[in-house]
Amino acid sequence: MSRQVARGVDTKKISSELFALTYGSIVAQLVNDYEEDDEINKQLDKMGYNIGIRIIEDFLARSGIGRCTDFRETADIISKVAFKMFLGITPVVTNWSSTGDEFSLLIENNPLTEFVELPDNHSQLNYSNIICGAMRGALEMVQLDVSVWFVQDQLKGDNITEIRLKFNKRLEDALPPGED
């Protein structure tokens, strides 16, 4: 409700530490609740998906962005507008496949993992997997079926965090009239 009071001022900016700590406690809880890393990853992805299908409306309403005509445009908007808007970072788009249906997002300073070190017994855990779910959910709402997964993760000792997106198909039967 606070946004209504302070319209015009960007009140979306909250402390990234508060955000990181909140996220950390969600993951910690999941680690307690589930034994397998795979199961935790799946739960995070599911939570992300549910965020994604809602956050897309917020994104479209606020950015006023129109429909993308190719996957390169989609990649640009995800990195330059969406990530900027919600996480305050701009990942680098690289490693395009020759067919133009796959690319990677390189994240150098992931705000979610600010104070995190993975314990040895959770080597399979994709700590920031919620981001994958959110991207999948959001793109599904604009009729893009996309697979999203972690390729590299700084938490696992890689130099950089890399998320890969693969375009599967357009969801033609979900297209709103006038868009097909």
């Binding site: 946004r3 299908i53 809602r54 897309i56 409306e57 917020d58 479209l60 309403a61 606020r62 006023g64 129109g66 429909r67 709402m141 604009v142 979900a174 297209l175 709103p176 009239p177 006038g178 868009e179 097909d180």
Partner: protein, 198 residues
């Protein structure tokens, strides 16, 4: 410069939000003596004026109340609270003089849901009729008593605003409605998507 009502239609064509603002009230009350010089008929379980327009009472208006007592469909109640058929009641000379209120009845929730679904289809048909590819559906529908402005988001939700015919563009209002929807409906964790907003 009035806005009459706002509708939000889900991607499946279901009505998820509807609100009426200052709809102009069309009601006329008059005292009648026997015999009634209006021709009434029962239509769609309502008693409507079929012929004999006068004093602001128009063909198509429904009998809303008799002597202050609201009419329920095609039945009314007399002084002794006995249920009577309206037409029969109006044909009995001993009941006169009586006060009859005519007007346009408000849309029922079911009718609104039906209209929303119908608009959803019309929107789809409109985009199909276009000689050019990728035409949007209906953006503006104009009549002599109102204008209907529609905006469909990329995800397929339709925002519809019915306004005074004098208003020109409602683009900003529709965009703003979308923002409000994104904020207050979708950020409510207890709201399930595509369900009516309460």
């Amino acid at each position: 410069m009035a806005i009459f009502s706002i509708w939000i239609i889900s991607r499946a064509g279901g009505l998820i939000y509807q609100h009426d603002y200052n709809l102009p009230k069309v009601e006329v009350e008059k005292t009648f003596s026997y015999p009634l010089d209006l021709v009434l008929k029962v239509y769609d379980e309502k008693v409507v004026v079929a012929f004999g327009q006068r004093d602001g009472i128009k063909v198509g208006h429904t009998v809303l109340s008799i002597n202050g007592q609201p009419v329920e469909g095609r039945f009314c109640r007399d002084e002794a609270d006995v249920k009577k058929d309206v037409l029969e009641f109006l044909n009995t000379e001993s009941n006169y003089p009586m006060n009859i209120k005519f007007g346009r009845p408000k849309l029922s929730t079911n009718e609104k849901i039906m209209l929303a679904g119908m608009f959803h289809s019309l929107y789809a048909i409109a985009s199909q009729l276009s000689p050019q590819l990728h035409s949007s559906g209906i953006q503006l529908l104009e009549t002599d008593t109102f204008k209907l402005h529609a905006f469909q988001t990329l995800t397929g939700i339709k925002f519809v605003v019915v306004t005074d015919p004098k208003r020109t563009s409602e683009d900003l209002l529709l965009k703003r409605l979308y923002e409000i929807y994104a904020d207050f409906a979708l950020k409510n964790p207890f709201y399930s998507i595509d369900m009516p907003i309460r």
